[in-house]
Amino acid sequence: MVEWTQEERVIIKEIFSKLNYEDVGPKSLCRILVVYPWTQRYFAHFGNLYNPEMILANPKIANHGVVVFRGLEMAVQNMDNIKNTYANLSKLHSEKLHVDPDNFQLLADCITIVIATKMRSAFTPEKQATWYKFLSVVVSALSKQYF
């Protein structure tokens, strides 16, 4: 059972409240597809992913970036019950999408980097630590239904 302090809850909600999903969503996806190119295997049907400019101009990426962050929002709104909130999403990633769960951590790292470029020095070591804890719980919950 994950325990959150009041301070941690405030930090997570505060970071989220400042995010523009249409901006950070596609940027996070672009980063994972460029930095860890093997992840492109899951997006072969998205069309043109040749270089960062093409990726950012791709409407399917734009759409999917928002989908990912709406999914994260679910975790923010149910911080005391992320595992159950994500039960169906986990099954989806395992049984339908067949995503290697190691990729969840890669995307988490890319999201962190993009948020760092936005928040800059406001993303203090303490906020980074809380954010990492939150994403670790998300990654764990998404990996739970794999067998």
Binding site: C30, R31, V34, V35, P52, D109, T112, I113, V114, A116, T117, K118, M119, R120, S121, F123, P125, E126, Q128, A129, Y132
Partner: protein, 143 residues
């Protein structure tokens, strides 16, 4: 995942921007590692103050980033270039190699904060590859 000529060019170019700020960047990266990944504090039990911005953190941050700078200079042959540091980490410090990844990530976060426009996905991938190669060279003598 070897470093291509392009990777090396990108790393050297980006390092030119980093070099004037290695003390600040080193301190910030180390602070983030110690705060975000408390298991890493076990390697610094001999320090008085492990809090962000302490004198020890600042001094050591500079040491670490200077080491990375050495790696940039010997980017064409990291194994030999980092021989001294590899022996240090293997026989004296004995840092579990998993921690190299953690510090690398924290360094990338600091670079994203300090250079939000320059730290593009292309620079990110070359830096990530480079830091991975440095970690590999550092663990060369472990076993």
């Amino acid at each position: 995942m070897t470093l291509t000529a392009k990777d090396k060019e990108v790393v050297k170019g980006f390092w030119a921007k980093i070099a004037p700020k290695i003390e600040d960047i080193g301190e910030d990266a180390l602070s983030r590692m110690l705060v975000g990944y408390p298991q890493t504090k076990t390697y610094f039990s001999h320090w008085k103050d492990l809090s962000p911005g302490s004198a020890e953190v600042r001094k050591h941050g500079k040491v670490v980033l200077s080491g990375v700078g050495e790696a940039v200079k010997t980017i064409d042959d990291l194994t030999n270039g980092l021989l001294r540091l590899s022996e240090l980490h293997a026989f004296q410090l004995r840092v579990d190699p998993a921690n190299f990844k953690i510090l690398s990530h924290c360094l990338l976060v600091v670079l994203a904060i300090k250079f939000p426009d320059d730290f593009t996905p292309e620079v990110h991938v070359s830096m990530d590859k480079f830091l991975g190669a440095v970690a590999l060279a550092l663990s060369e003598k472990y076993r």
